[in-house]
């Protein structure tokens, strides 16, 4: 009887171990698949040609597979979105965490949650019909589908996550810190900016890095407003991101061609960017735990 119970126990232990390792398995699966399907094209094209080639013309007789425009567009687009989204999100978070009356805080937080939950294609839809024509009219350019439109849409998309994570970090600052500063004669606003924010700086850094990850990985909203031509990045020109390069050509490409393999290689490059961002994120999370 006891033996049987023991056998069951160890079987159950084994089952749970397997379930626990599923996440690890999934990460390995994704990495291995991307590496296996991404390497052949890079090998054939040549790493420097692939990464630093300025021209992408996959269907021409003499096909060119240079993804520098995509890489730079993704970097500029993400940087722009974070540059706009961070200050707005950050100041909103400080206000909500420290100044807003509870009812208003609850209301605005719910609004921000709604913003976070809206599918990105909805942002793309509004961007396509409101933002793109607006950019054309305001800046008197021939066409509004551009890097600028993508940056604005992306900054709206990263905003809720920046607000939420900074808010959590600011709320976690011990009351004693602030009280000490107030007692020393600082006004409340000064206290928030001199004491609370530095104390929450790792949390805020986490928020920004999360925003970067979210922006660089966004595909559907961006494809709807950015025009999708493989130009070198320019604020008012139509551009193509790493994500949109993959999604716009993937559905029509013929299976097994160098073109398709090159699209997998782009996904691999995107994946490496994400891993880099994850590592940065972990660095800040660790620091937060220690600090």
């Amino acid at each position: 009887m006891k033996k049987k119970a023991k056998a069951i126990e160890s079987a159950v232990h084994g089952v749970f171990l397997i379930l626990g390792l599923i996440t690890v398995g999934a990460v390995l699966l994704i990495s291995i698949y991307l590496i296996i399907s991404g390497i052949p094209a890079i090998k054939e094209i040549g790493l420097t040609h692939f990464l630093f080639g300025k021209e992408w013309a996959a269907t021409e007789a003499e096909a060119k597979f240079g993804i520098l425009p995509f890489i730079l567009t993704s970097i500029y687009g993400t940087a722009g979105a974070v540059f706009i989204g961070t200050p707005i999100g950050f100041f909103t978070a400080v206000y909500l965490a420290k100044i807003a009356p509870p009812k208003l805080k609850h209301l605005v937080s719910s609004a921000v949650s709604l913003l976070a939950g809206i599918p990105s294609v909805v942002y793309g839809l509004v961007g396509m019909l409101v933002l793109v024509p607006a950019i054309r009219n305001i800046f008197h350019v021939a066409d509004g589908a551009s890097l600028l439109a993508a940056i604005i849409v992306l900054s709206v998309i990263v905003l809720p996550s920046i607000i939420k994570v900074s808010l959590t970090a600011l709320e976690a600052v011990p009351k004693e810190y602030e009280e000490g500063s107030l007692a020393l004669g600082s006004t409340s606003v000064e206290t928030y900016f001199r004491i609370s924010i530095p104390a929450a700086k790792n949390g805020i850094a986490t928020a920004i890095v999360l925003g970067v990850g979210r922006a660089i990985g966004e595909a559907m909203a961006v494809i709807m407003v950015s025009g999708n031509v493989a130009n070198m990045p320019n604020l008012f020109e139509s551009v193509r991101f790493l994500t949109t390069a993959v999604s716009s050509e993937m559905s029509y490409v013929s299976t097994g061609s160098l073109h398709q393999q090159a699209l997998f290689s782009i996904a691999l490059v995107l994946f490496l960017f994400i891993m880099l961002i994850n590592a940065t994120l972990n660095f800040f999370l660790k620091k937060k735990k220690e600090g």
Binding site: A5, I8, V12, H13, F16, L17, L19, G20, L21, I22, T23, V24, A26, V27, L29, I30, L34, S37, P87, I88, G89, F91, T92, Y95, L96, V108, A111, V112, L114, L115, G117, I118, P119, S120, V121, V122, G124, L125, L129, V130, V156, G185, T187, V189, E190, F193, G213, G217, A219, M224, T243, V246, S247, F264, L270, I274, M275, N278, L281, N282
Partner: protein, 287 residues
């Protein structure tokens, strides 16, 4: 220094900071009001019973989104059915079994990584692995499996958090009565983590509702009306995917806005549910 006698320079600084805060809050709120208002105003007039109760027809040119609504339901159910046992199991392993710190941190790092991977990459790998390697073809099932991997870390995290709050004394008490580990988990630990599981489910539903990039290549974008089993094995668009298809591929903006309004309302409902669940479980724990 006495409060009230603040130098001019400091006053200017304080004023500037305040102005920036108010401006930011205003921008955020204005954005929400504009987006919600714009979508509801554009979308509501186009929602009709006919739209949500029929399937599209090429012959008459009518558009109906019933298949998309059903597909969304099916894919949510299929995903939750698979993701629940997997992620709860993983969370139980982490909190109840794992002693090796290396394995724990490997699992947690993996979960962290999974939640950072963009959905377009899930879509690609899902297409390669589920559709091609496992030969599921482009189907709702392949889409659901892809979503399972995406949502694993979410449900695992919330379950884990709630397992951690189960008092150690419960377990010790049960062990003291001579119960085996599996029995303790089954009868004492698992019933206590319902809140985490429910919260995780709500979050997952929200994520699935909003997902498009991962489904485009795995679940496809057909609008055929099928029974649940047939639907799982054939290609089908969820609401979000069909919004993309109607807006981008077909230029049917009335339909797109109607779907956007529906999605927005669903998002609101999901958020309310999440709030309610948080409030309900907090109250129950406090008693």
């Amino acid at each position: 220094m006495v409060i009230g006698k603040v130098s001019k320079k400091r006053k200017v600084n304080i004023g500037a900071m305040k102005a920036l805060m108010y401006a930011s809050v205003f921008v955020t709120c204005a954005l929400v009001v504009f987006l919600v208002g714009y979508i509801l105003v554009k979308g509501f007039p186009n929602i009709s019973w006919k739209l949500i109760s029929t399937k599209p027809s090429y012959l008459s040119g009518d558009i109906g989104i019933l298949p998309d609504i059903l597909n969304t339901l099916y894919i949510i159910l299929a995903t939750l059915l698979v993701v629940l046992p997997l992620s709860v199991g993983a969370a139980v392993y982490l909190t109840e079994y794992a002693k090796n710190q290396k394995i724990v941190s490997a699992i947690e790092y993996a979960a962290e990584t999974l939640s950072g991977i963009p959905s377009i990459i899930y879509g690609l790998v899902g297409m390669l692995f589920f559709c091609q390697f496992l030969n599921m073809k482009t189907s709702l099932l392949a889409g659901a499996m892809t979503l399972v991997i995406m949502n694993l870390p979410i449900v695992m995290r919330t379950t884990q958090e709630s397992l951690k709050t189960v008092p150690q004394s419960y377990r010790e008490g049960a062990f003291g009565l001579g119960a085996g580990k599996w029995r303790v988990i089954r009868t004492v630990v698992l019933p206590e983590c319902v809140d985490g599981v429910v919260t995780g489910c709500i979050l997952s539903v929200g994520r699935i509702l909003g997902e498009s990039a991962a489904l485009l290549f795995t679940a496809g974008f057909a609008h055929t009306l099928n029974g649940v089993l047939k639907a799982l094995t054939s290609s089908g668009a969820t609401l979000t995917v069909s919004l993309y298809v109607y807006a981008k591929e077909q230029g049917e903006f009335e339909v797109a806005f109607a779907i956007a309004a529906i999605l927005m309302i669903l998002t609101l409902i999901v958020n309310l549910f999440a709030d309610f669940a948080a409030w309900y479980f907090k109250r129950r724990k406090n008693i």
